[in-house]
């Protein structure tokens, strides 16, 4: 038993040999406060981690990507055609897969009309908080509440798979695309619209996209809108949670259809999928590393403070005399060091 005792590297002084000071006690309290602060900030950097970005190229063979859209157009649904054309030469009548509801055209609250959304890149925490997957609701029939009155708007919404190549989604009036013999009366054409949602990949309605809540109003039936997007697949990772989504950059233009420029009235959304994908992940040091670092920093601070305390004490004693000593009660005894 005595053998183990010799290993004791932490010699303890009997209580009678330890002297305590009242001023030293005050310093200790300050020290503990400071320690708590440091511990807190260290915990913060541990739980907050740091952001690591990686750029990669997907090695999965892809076929389709999903477009989620929710758009109000100031035209009755029966005169609208929605189709997708892409580089493969495919032409897809996505109208069949989307829901088109007749509704009175209105601007939902919070719509930015003829302005632009504030451009900002959402943070990791924000994305993770907003990444709640959802599905579009089923199509509802509002003709019962119409009272025979014609609705002047169309609500187009749904998720559609498209070939994952460069392509465009076109909302146009009937008779302006191929293979349709009913031509929309020109006075009915009005491509004023509100984009409530336009996103690619899994549908997360709460994640903000550059086109969301954007409205464009016009009275001219010849006004058309063109949005060009470049889609960058982005993966957000934090503490085991993983969100696969797509960010896109946006440029928009507005043009007027004339007899000469061969354009067709409508809303065109051109998309292109970028090869590079971004992985934004929240990295952190391992927990044990953190504990060791925390303890080491704390003990370092304790040492530094006790040294500073002694040094100040020494300086005070040297300059102003022993009465100013922080360490001992001024009981008249001369104390220059513990060892003496």
């Amino acid at each position: 038993m005595a053998g183990l005792r010799t290993f004791d590297a932490f010699p303890k002084t009997d209580a009678q040999h330890v002297k305590k000071s009242s001023k030293g006690g005050f310093t200790s309290i300050l020290t503990y406060l400071f320690l708590a602060f440091i511990a807190w900030s260290e915990f913060g950097s541990f739980f907050g981690g740091y952001i690591d970005q990686q750029y990669g190229v997907s090695n999965n063979l892809r076929e389709t990507a999903q477009i989620n859209m929710d758009i109000f157009v100031h035209m009755p649904c029966e005169w609208l055609t929605v189709l997708v054309q892409d580089r493969t030469g495919d032409r897809k009548l996505v109208q069949e897969e989307l829901s088109l509801e007749d509704l009175p055209f209105y601007l939902p609250p919070g719509t930015v009309v003829d302005g632009r959304n504030e451009i900002r890149s959402p943070g990791l925490d924000e994305i993770l908080a907003e990444a709640i997957p959802a599905k579009f609701r089923e199509k509802l029939d509002f003709s019962g509440v119409a009272d025979g009155q014609e609705f002047d708007g169309c609500h187009i919404f749904g998720s559609i798979p498209v070939n994952m190549v460069k392509g465009s989604l076109l909302i146009t009036a009937r008779g302006y695309s191929l293979g349709d013999f009913r031509r929309t009366p020109p006075d009915l054409i009005n491509f004023s619209h509100v984009v409530n949602e336009l996103s690619f990949g899994d549908f997360y309605p709460f994640i903000d996209n550059p086109l969301d809540q954007l409205g464009r109003l016009t009275n001219d039936p010849r006004t058309s809108y063109h949005y060009q997007t470049s889609v960058v697949p982005t993966t957000f990772k934090k503490l085991g949670a993983k969100v696969d989504t797509n960010q896109y950059s946006l440029s928009e233009s507005e043009y007027t259809v004339t007899e000469f420029n061969m354009r067709i009235p409508g809303i065109m959304i051109t998309y292109n999928f970028e090869a590079l994908s971004i992985t934004i992940s929240d990295e952190r040091i391992s927990f044990w590393q953190f504990i060791v670092r925390l303890v080491a920093i704390l003990s370092f601070i304790v040492y530094t403070i006790s040294w500073t305390f002694r040094l100040t004490d020494k300086v005070l004693v040297l300059v102003l005399g022993p009465r100013w000593s922080l360490r001992y009660q001024s009981d008249g005894r001369q104390n220059t060091g513990i060892l003496e």
């Binding site: 190229v57 076929e63 897969e97 970028e274 080491a296 060892l339």
Partner: protein
Amino acid sequence: MRKSALLSVDAFAKTEEDVRIRTRSGGIITLSCIIVTFLLLLSEWTQLKEIVTRPQLVVDRDRHLKLDLNMDVTFPHIPCYLLNMDILDSAGEIQLDLLESGWSKTRLDSSGQNLGTEKFHIGQDSNNAGPEDENYCGPCYGAKDQTQNEQKPKEEQVCCQTCEDVRSAYMEAQWAFFDGKNIEQCEREGYVEKVNKHINEGCRIKGMAKLNRIEGNLHFAPGKAHRNKQGHFHDTSLYDRTPSLNFNHIIHHLSFGKEVEETQTESVSTSPLNGRDVRPDYDTHSHQFSYFAKIVPTRFEYLNGVKVETTQFSATYHERPIRGGPDSDHPNTLHSRGGFPSVYFYFEMSPLKVINKQQYAQSWSGFLLNCITSIGGVLAVGTVVDKVTYKAQRSIWGKKSS
């Protein structure tokens, strides 16, 4: 006095040996501290060995460099002599019939067995010398204008002496050649017989080519290529007539640069199409298969100083019937009409370049610092634990147990 002044600045004030108390619990704590320190140092050591990849995005400035295309593809249902590969890019550069220059074509029988790499020479072993008649001038079957031959001397006469001559004449006239049946020269050379005998073979092609770093496409098509104002065409007459042929394919390898091996920390996509096997169970005789590859130049910088300039790419697959219109699995899609049965690889370059640099997660100085921190931290914890145990022991059992 001098000694005493030095002593007074001693920051590590020591308690004299006779007032120090050693306890059994203190010993145990010390031993466990040593073990923990040892383990921590070990983990620091393994972390020193850890390799991380630091990515960097730059704009690719090496556009004048060529891309190396490496390819190894098997077509189980199309014979080598019918297979053609062309590369067209947006700069207008055309590389036709690449398979004839330096690529290896391996003939495969219907069960996939190797039949040898030697080229299937058309009309080589038969009486290739042509007819004995010195003044023979073979007909071109209207593919060339031979009406003026009577008036010309022998050297200037337009003649189709061999099957190959007739074939190229047909090609120029953009006529369907089929298998050369009823063409005198081809029948004599045994071309017709040979073509029909080998029609059920497969073909494995392997080779490399240089591509411009711009948009373009590479395609495999049946029959010789020709161009006119309307675009790029192939003589698909023989293919169209033989319903057993199709462009099912197995991609053994396809990359646009050097190969790099994958590490655990990162996934590398230098050849994502390797091992792809497209042999659908429905009839694909008149199907076009397309791959859309987006190429990202990438440089890998390894720890040992090796730098590999290569490319990664992502691929999208698409297939459509030549007749166009909807197909069974895409009821709302109208595929475009036209083209020829083929396998297309469209490629496109990204202007951004990724530099993946491997680094040690920790430097030596960081490692040393961490070691010291570990030791210090453990000792600090040890001191606290020991003080607590000592005080607890004293208050529970009194002074006796010390």
